[in-house]
């Protein structure tokens, strides 16, 4: 179980413990009962019927525990499960004072935890006793049974995360961390594993688009994308009856499949086939009036699909680029080593890694701007948004180009660059050929660094401008969305 989750629980328990002066084990059960909402628990504790509160949470009011009589502790009593007599002090019981021997407890816990798969709601084994077993007692009993103990802790942690609106599991595959926030809201969080995600919907961080819009988009993509791409590439609609026609082979002479229509038309110009006459398989009528009209109509009916594809392709493009992020990080790692061999310090070369991080972050944002844009109704602010999007897109393209390609030519590839570099072409020569000769010159390295820094800072600032503008728009209610994305 992640350490920070445990410490979060302990912190909450301690807080409650300090307020109410009740044992931590009782505090935990109360917190679990209130979905780890401390405020609600405190409220209920102070202005309600406390006895009822404890009863509902299935615990004994810790302020009303019967005093233990130390004289009777050595007396023998019979375990009600196995009927063996033990000294009272060797028996374990919850505050309800039903005591059982250790063997019976372990056997009972094993059956509850391993067979029934429960953890946080194990009650006293006595018949009709609703009192919940606390974690301290259970952990104590399970000493020497690491397998059951581990399973138990797993269930307790799971119950904690499930019952707690302020904690969620990191959705990254294979990651076992959970992330905690202070207020319930949909906002970006970052797990220790590095994965950045939205606390609201557990998708990857998706600024500037909001969770419900993203959800609609993802659903649309899942429903449409496979067919939409294929339809757009391989089919057209019959200009007369709108039946979707799949082009079959290279011939432009198409006969509509629909039995009621059978319209013959040209795939290329969408005009009627008849005037094409003898110019078999060949269209020279692309600009003639009737075929232009047909294409017009055709394109209108296609416009919504085309529009979707426009946004989808850009969204998808950034998604694809994200897949190469790891490769880019590896590449930049090598570059950083190279720069260090050439006299830069470790701290000085960190700008490269930072630049890749900026690049990834900007791509992530750009990707979701296309979801935002798809549903956005045109207005003046939407035009500004699109300008910001374009600016960021260009800035990211430049930075990406620089990190993925120009850097190689500027510093020379790792294999060829090391040897001769005495010539001192000094300052900012943009020509790749000249810089390749001069990379060990500190001023050249510094120059490269400056340019990468400038570019990544520019990207960052453009990203901020875009996000701030969208955020202002949200706050002032200027954004109008169209559920159908038209």
């Amino acid at each position: 179980m992640p350490k920070d989750i445990i410490s979060t629980q302990i912190q909450a328990i301690e807080d409650v413990n300090n307020i109410f002066q009740i044992p931590p084990s009782t505090a935990r059960i109360l917190l679990q009962f209130f979905g780890w909402d401390k405020e609600r628990l405190v409220e209920r504790y102070y202005d309600g019927d406390q006895d009822r509160l404890f009863e509902e949470a299935h615990i004994i009011n810790p302020h009303k525990l019967p005093r233990q009589d130390s004289n009777t502790e050595h007396k023998e009593m019979t375990c009600e499960i196995c009927y063996v007599d033990y000294p009272r002090k060797d028996m374990t019981g919850l505050p309800c004072n039903h005591r059982f021997c250790r063997h019976c407890w372990v056997s009972y816990l094993q059956s509850k935890i391993m067979d029934e798969g429960t953890g946080e709601k194990i009650t006293c084994p006595a018949h009709q006793c609703p009192i919940v077993a606390d974690e301290v007692t259970i952990s104590h009993l399970l000493q020497g049974h690491p397998e059951i103990q581990a399973r138990y802790e797993f269930f307790v942690a799971k119950a904690f995360v499930q019952g707690n609106k302020l904690v969620k599991w990191c959705p990254a595959p294979g990651c076992e961390n959970a992330v905690r926030v202070n207020t319930v809201e949909a906002r970006p969080v970052k797990c220790k594993c590095g994965h950045a995600w939205c606390f609201g919907c557990q998708q990857p961080t998706h600024e500037p688009v909001h969770c419900p819009t993203l959800k609609a988009w993802l659903k649309k993509c899942a429903d449409d994308s496979e067919t939409a791409n294929w339809i757009s590439a391989n089919t057209k609609e019959c200009p007369r009856c709108k039946t979707t026609i799949e082009k079959n082979g290279g011939c432009n002479h198409i006969t509509c499949r629909s039995l009621n229509c059978k319209y013959e038309f040209c795939w290329s110009c969408l005009g009627a086939w008849e005037p094409h006459g003898a110019s078999w398989y060949n269209c020279s009528r692309f600009d003639e009036k009737d075929s232009m009209q047909a294409r017009d109509q055709h394109s209108r009916s296609r416009v919504s699909l085309e529009r979707y594809l426009h946004y989808y392709n850009r969204y998808h493009n950034h998604e694809q680029s994200q897949k190469f992020e790891q490769q880019l990080f590896a590449k930049v790692d090598k570059k950083m080593e190279e720069f260090q061999q050439r006299g830069m310090s470790w701290i000085e070369v960190q700008f490269l890694k930072k630049a890749v991080e900026v690049l990834c972050l900007c791509r992530q944002t750009l990707k979701y701007t296309y979801v935002f844009g798809f549903y956005l109704r045109k207005n003046n602010q939407a035009v500004i948004f699109e300008d910001n999007q374009k600016d960021l897109e260009m800035a990211v393209e430049t930075l990406s180009q620089y990190l993925e390609q120009d850097m190689d030519s500027a510093t020379g590839s790792a294999s060829s660059s090391s040897s001769s570099s005495s010539s001192s072409s000094s300052s900012s020569s943009s020509s790749a050929a000249t810089t390749a000769q001069a990379t060990s010159n500190p001023t050249v390295l510094a120059d490269i660094k400056q340019r990468v820094l400038d570019k990544s800072q520019y990207c960052e600032s453009r990203r901020k401008v875009l996000l701030d503008h969208v955020q202002d728009g949200y706050e002032q209610g200027v954004w109008e969305f169209d559920a159908a994305g038209n």
Binding site: I81, Y83, H103, C104, S107, Q110, S111, P125, A126, H127
Partner: protein, 162 residues
Amino acid sequence: MRVPFAAGLTADQFVAAFKYVETQRLVAEPVPGISAEPDEQNARYFGIKIDGPHESPFEGGVFRLELFLPEDYPMAPPKVRFLTKIYHPNIDRLGRICLDILKDKWSPALQIRTVLLSVQALLSAPNPDDPLANDVAEQWKTNEPAAIATARQWTRQYATGK
């Protein structure tokens, strides 16, 4: 009751071994109206006889049941089933019993004798609102005298004599 500690047992074997003593006691000191007979082949299997309670439609009948202690007993409840045909809203045609302590309300601290006493009590107080046999429960609710008459009739027919 003291039983010498048996070394080398796991916690559940240990508990089961001791709990078993209780079933022996049930055989040796039967409750009035209830008897238990261990099976010769299988120590976990018991033949049970319960007398129909006084002032119930089952009075005068002797009902045979089987009781089986599963591997994980006492952490899991014993399995109890009527062998004698009985007209009762909480007992179905196969003799299965709808009784909370035999299901989710089971506690390892319950004794076999408590379970059997609860079964006997169920004969005195049928509960048609939590039925297992729907048609029987329906009649019990809509026409109780007729239902009781049928229960008497079944008792005479199936639960008396050899």
